[in-house]
Amino acid sequence: MNITGMRHGAKLLDIVGFPRSEVLGPEASDQEIKGLIERCGEVFVKPIFKGGVGKKGKSGLLGRAKDLSGAMKEKERLYFAEHFHNNTLSKAEGVTFEGAVPAACEVYFSITDNTEFRAPTITITHHGGVDIEELPPEKITSIPFDPLTGLKGFVISNALKRLGAPSELISPLVQNLPKLWDLYHNYGMTTLELNPIRMMPNKKGRLVPVACDFKCGFDDDDPNVARLGLPADLDTSSYSDFEQEVNSLRTYQGQSDVFVINEAGTISAMTFGGGANALVTELLGDAATISSDFGGNPPYAKMHDISRIVYKYWLKQTNVLFIIGGKANNTDIYETFRAMADALRDHFNTHGPQPLYVVVGRGGPNLIRGMGYMQDTLDSLGLPYQMFGFDSAMSEVVNFAQAADEWMKNGGREIVAKKMGIVE
């Protein structure tokens, strides 16, 4: 789950007392917006996207206004704005009004778990407010630190010294940035980025860091995220009903990861193992309805539930039900095949039979018992099938499934339907 923007970011920053810009949500009244403009001189109007959406400014999705009518115009323009980024189209659901913060300079700051250092690492520059990828290396630095002691002021101080940051920046940042470690470490984050932090002079002329934008990513496996009490639908825009239903089965025994590839796909692959998932999905391309990983030895009941949901959403349009994995180390093939077969039978019982071609490639404990069970079920349902041993190249089995799909598309589906005595 990801969050971008100050609508929720402001609440999270408040937890640790990190200064931030004033923010109003889409429900703000005219009076409130007017008051904000009076206090800050100017407001930024930003569309609210669910999940992690970047590069909004570059796409012209940042409005600014110095009076109410200007703010309302920008609101109208951006309220349902669309944004294409990272291969994904996002649609705005409202706007925020964020008070402008006068500042001498802008700071970029992030914490993430860096795979080079294998430790939590800060990245910081006082040349912020821009795409940091565009900065020359000497203007930005990344420093790992010990998670047992946490992010301490000296880490910030050393980093800023290394960058040659103006001395008036150092003290306020050393005082405030370590607060973000509490937010990061104790609430299940995997990335936290504030860009820009605007260094605003206070009444005494001393600089105060004010967060003006917010991004973070959460660890789906960390129960501490729940402590934030974030709305359940915060980042559901990218989850289909199918994905959400399967995700509800998420437990530590057995994977249940799914991703919808093509809603008009015709091969539904029940894939076992992260490796098989990568290979199969890559080779199937857009012919696939879903990408899945059901490895990790799921128990019968879980596998039955997963299969039931997959069939419910995808079987009707499917030409080829494709069960594929390598030679399992620990996943019990009998249990998983029995669950998939029973769920298929149940699906046919409740939804009626349908033409389907079944292709299987698998290895692992209790393989032959599992294949035998699948064979008996498919025979009783009257479905054509081929099952391949694990000593067949997995890519060849994928090719076979694709060939079966082609045949089904070109009249095969009708032939199978006729043989089964059903009219589609």
Partner: protein, 905 residues
């Protein structure tokens, strides 16, 4: 500061200098959560493969127990400290704990054992937050950590496997000693790559599954260093997924084939599969391909068509190309494979059926003989009749029933009790055993079989039941006396006949036993008549065959037996005919391997118990040799459904259509509430104690006694509390027909009056400090509450069923008025639901009202009838649990370990 490890890594600690040190004969292992689901199957295999390298394991509450393996038993402790205190010495900890326990488990192991050098974390979905801390702890104490979400380490030369299940349940099959080291982000592909390499003649040194979490604690750089220092490893395969910069700065002194996968993952916006395999722009699959191509000095991906490689290595994107790429790279260095190819990677179809469709040639590959030992197993499949379910501890678990905690609706063999309630009693009885509903022909046969043995006249069991009733026992106690008489000897012949029929017909090609055109002449020839025929001299068999004919029921097995009898040598008995019917009912599911042979052979026994339990519910005075409750045995067999017979046994008459429907619904609703219910626990405990691992010795009838002894007055399902409550409301109402909506009573006013009365009672009770004041039965529910108006979906379902039929029930309507009145008078803060137990009570009371109002039955008879009805319905669910536990359970598996029991003084 971290301790100094391998000098090549000055900035952080690494202890392994060579892959020879990764998994050694000297490593001694302690497995955390050794009895967990995954470890239970994996650890014994590792222990045996490695020559007994696991010294102990931990599992809270299991101290003193042992994990049995063929290489000796592994002692289990509550925790690591206890193991260390007991003198166990180990340098490796393998972690199978659930994700929330991993960090603390690691911290504890490090704290109490200063000799640790390696920790292998198998657990998936360890929070990143905990991984951070684990990494830091490992660094501080100078411990190499492997994983999380890895599959462990294996050394084919040392014959040692530590941690996960590399090589699966038969490591020798995949881990062939050779010269290639494997580093893989995927656990499954670690083994698969080893298998693929063997097809090119390459064996392995060390196989290492790194895991693919955000933190890979022992990662590519450390592994590469150790690879260089391992003289056995002449080359390596690295299987790399997108995400992370672990491989960016690698430099190789030895040849490597790198398999980079996951280009498509660039499209993903969230992790699918491995948590760490989500990439930015700089660490996606394309970027990683480029890293490795630059290292190897190649300008393209290796494919069989375009075999681009150098002496340094090759990049592939398909694991099937690994063996060929390895051979090509090594050939450039003048090296040959380790051994002759073991098989090849061509398509090998092991099972195929076009179902009579004329498939194009490319979709109709020949079925080839599988590699050993799978060829023998496939041959064995042809011999095996029915399924064999894996045995496991079935305490509080069931493969027959399951309650959905959200809807509170229980399913039996995948059918919700709501749907089951629309089926007849006999259909549900059959479904409880064969896991699917019989067709019309099957139901007709079942009715004959069940009605044949319902008359208990002259049976010692009926005398025992009557004596028990006279002694004041409850209906379940009395019926268990009768069921106790249905012992194994009584059904011995039927079970033998069942086995013989299965043996005769299993390879006959018989699919539909209703297909009376089936040619059984070969079976007739082969049959041993003495198994099927006896010197039976009664007339029951004739009546039974007539009944089958009267119902126009068809069965190959019945026809076969008749033909056998015609050949001479004896007569058919009713037991034999019942066995033929139960075999008929089970046949299709048995042939599809949905049932076990144990289930089929026990079915006549279950049927005999069904008949006995229903028959013994009527007292001896209502039974004569040729008639049951006034109805001739022949008539029951020929034209009564078993639902009607059950109604007759209970209420003394044949129900009309509406009463029959209501009775069926009622019985269906109370079939089961899942394996946690006390009745199921009784049945399962009885099976467990007999030892289901030798299924032949399970006393099926004792299973039913277990169910019966575990039912009682307090069972909500028997509806008696609600009946007593309703009787108090309606006793003096003058109500004559509860099914007539024109009853003339103001139910709303009655409900309001009672609600006020109850409110006053409750206020008074609370005022005097009595918090255990009487609650109104069957309203409100712990799950279906909290809304302004609440509904129990099960009650709604049944209410709609009856409404659709235009069936009225004054008691049910009163309950609806009551929950509204309770709200209006302020007794409840919202409108309670009427729960499903009320439904049971109102249906029963409606059935019994007229004889009660006429003074024909007393309150105690009413109680007895309600209780017995509950037993009839719950018998269905119990049958399913008894059979399921017999097939899946382990000996004594329902007991609770002493450590989980508590003493209360």
């Amino acid at each position: 500061m971290h301790p100094q490890g391998v000098a090549a890594f000055p900035h952080y600690y690494v202890g392994i200098n060579s892959l020879t040190e990764l998994a050694t004969k000297d490593d001694r292992v302690c497995v955390l959560n050794i009895t967990g689901g995954e470890s239970r199957t994996v650890t014994p295999v590792s222990h045996v493969y490695s020559g007994g390298n696991i010294v102990c394991g931990t599992a809270p509450g299991r101290s003193g127990s042992k994990m049995k393996t063929s290489a000796g038993n592994i002692p289990v402790y509550d925790n690591v400290a206890e193991a260390v205190d007991d003198g166990q010495e180990f340098n490796v900890v393998v972690v199978y704990l659930p994700p929330s326990g991993v960090r603390d488990g690691v911290l504890e192991a490090v704290r109490v054992n200063p000799n640790l050098t390696k920790i292998v974390i198998l657990t998936e979905k360890v929070p990143v937050r905990d991984a951070r801390i684990i990494r830091a702890i490992g660094q501080m104490h100078g411990i190499d950590i492997f994983g999380g979400n890895c599959l462990g380490l294996a050394d084919a030369h040392n014959h040692v496997r530590i941690g996960g299940a590399l090589g699966g349940s038969a490591p020798e099959e995949s881990l062939l000693p050779g010269s290639v080291a494997i580093y893989s982000n995927s656990g499954n592909f670690t083994t698969t790559i080893a298998v693929y390499l063997a097809t090119g003649g390459w064996g392995t040194t060390v196989s290492f599954s790194s895991g693919k979490d955000v933190y890979i604690h022992y990662a590519a750089q450390e592994w590469t260093h150790a690879f260089h220092n391992d003289d056995r490893s002449k080359s390596a395969v690295m299987y790399i997924e997108p995400g992370g910069y672990y491989e960016h700065d690698l430099e190789f002194d030895k040849p490597v084939v790198a398999c980079i996968v996951g280009r498509w993952k660039a499209k993903l916006t969230k992790a699918c599969g491995h948590a760490g395999a989500i990439a930015g722009t700089g660490d996606n699959a394309n970027a990683k391909e480029e890293w490795f191509m630059e290292k190897f000095g190649v300008d393209a991906i290796f494919t069989p068509e375009n075999p681009v490689c150098s002496e340094k290595g090759a990049v592939v994107v398909n694991i099937s190309h690994i063996p060929e790429a390895m051979t090509a790279v090594m050939a450039k260095r003048g090296a040959k494979p380790d051994f002759d190819s073991v098989g090849d990677l061509s398509l090998k179809c092991w099972f195929s059926n076009a179902q009579g469709i004329d498939l194009p040639d490319h979709l109709n590959p020949p079925v080839v003989e599988a590699m050993s030992p799978y060829d023998v197993q496939i041959d064995g499949l042809g011999e095996q009749v029915g399924t064999v379910m894996p045995r496991q501890t079935m305490k509080d678990a069931s493969g027959a029933s399951m309650m959905d905690p959200k809807t509170q609706v229980t399913k039996i063999h995948g059918t919700s009790v709501l749907d089951a309630s629309t089926h007849s009693f006999e259909e549900n009885l059959v479904q409880s055993l064969i896991r699917e509903y019989p067709d019309e022909n099957g139901a007709a046969l079942a009715n004959v079989a069940l009605n044949t043995f319902v008359n208990q006249s002259g049976k010692v069991g009926l005398a025992a039941a009557d004596a028990s009733r006279k002694a004041g026992n409850s209906p379940n106690t009395a019926l268990s006396a009768a069921v106790a008489m249905v012992g194994p000897k009584l059904v011995e012949q039927a079970r033998t006949v069942t086995s013989a029929l299965v043996e005769l017909f299993k390879k006959s090609g018989l699919e539909d036993p209703s297909d009376v055109g089936f040619d059984f002449s070969a079976q007739l020839e082969a049959a041993d008549a003495s198994v099927f025929l006896t010197d039976y001299s009664g007339r029951c068999n004739v009546a039974m065959l007539e009944a089958i004919e009267n119902r126009n029921a068809k069965s190959v097995f019945i026809d076969f037996l008749k033909a056998l009898e015609q050949k001479g040598g004896g007569k058919l008995s009713c037991s034999v005919l019942v066995a033929a019917i139960t075999t008929h009912l089970a046949w299709r599911a048995l042939m599809r391997k949905r049932l076990s042979i144990t289930t089929v052979s026990n079915m006549p026994w279950h049927f005999r118990v069904f008949s006995t339990l229903i028959g013994s519910a009527a007292s001896a005075e209502n039974q004569e040799r040729h008639s049951f409750c006034g109805v001739a045995n022949k008539e029951l067999m020929s034209s009564w459904s078993f639902t009607e017979t059950a109604h007759l046994a209970l209420l003394g008459n044949r129900p009309n259509e509406e009463a029959l429907y209501a009775f069926s619904v009622l019985l269906g609703l109370i079939i089961t509430n899942g394996p946690g219910t006390i009745s199921a626990q009784g049945a399962k405990g009885a099976v467990s104690a007999d030892g289901p691992e030798v299924p032949e010795r399970i006393q099926v009838n004792k299973g039913y006694i277990g169910f019966l002894t575990h039912t009682g007055y307090a069972h909500g399902g028997n509806g008696f509390e609600a009946i007593a409550f309703l009787l108090d409301r309606f006793r003096d109402s003058g109500l004559s027909s509860p099914g007539d909506s024109d009853h003339g009573m103001d139910l709303a006013a009655m409900a309001t009056d009672y609600a006020k009365e109850y409110k006053a009672y409750k206020t008074k009770a609370k005022a005097v400090g009595n918090l255990s004041y009487a609650k109104i039965p069957c309203v409100n529910h712990p799950v279906f509450k909290g809304e302004d108006v609440n509904y129990d979906p099960r009650e709604v379902f049944v209410n709609d069923l009856f409404k659709e039929r235009g069936s009225y029930n004054v008691f049910h309507e009163f309950y609806h008025e009551l929950v509204n009145a309770l709200f209006k008078t302020g007794v409840s803060r919202n409108v309670y639901c009427v729960n499903v137990d009320a439904v049971i009570a109102v249906i029963l009371l409606k059935m019994l009202w007229q004889p009660y109002a006429n003074g024909e039955i007393s309150d105690s008879t009413m109680e007895s009838a309600a209780f017995t009805t509950f037993l009839f319905g719950r018998m269905i669910g119990s049958a399913a649990e008894i059979d399921d536990h017999t097939n899946r359970g382990r000996n004594m598996d329902t007991r609770t370990p002493a450590s989980r029991c508590s003493y209360v003084s």
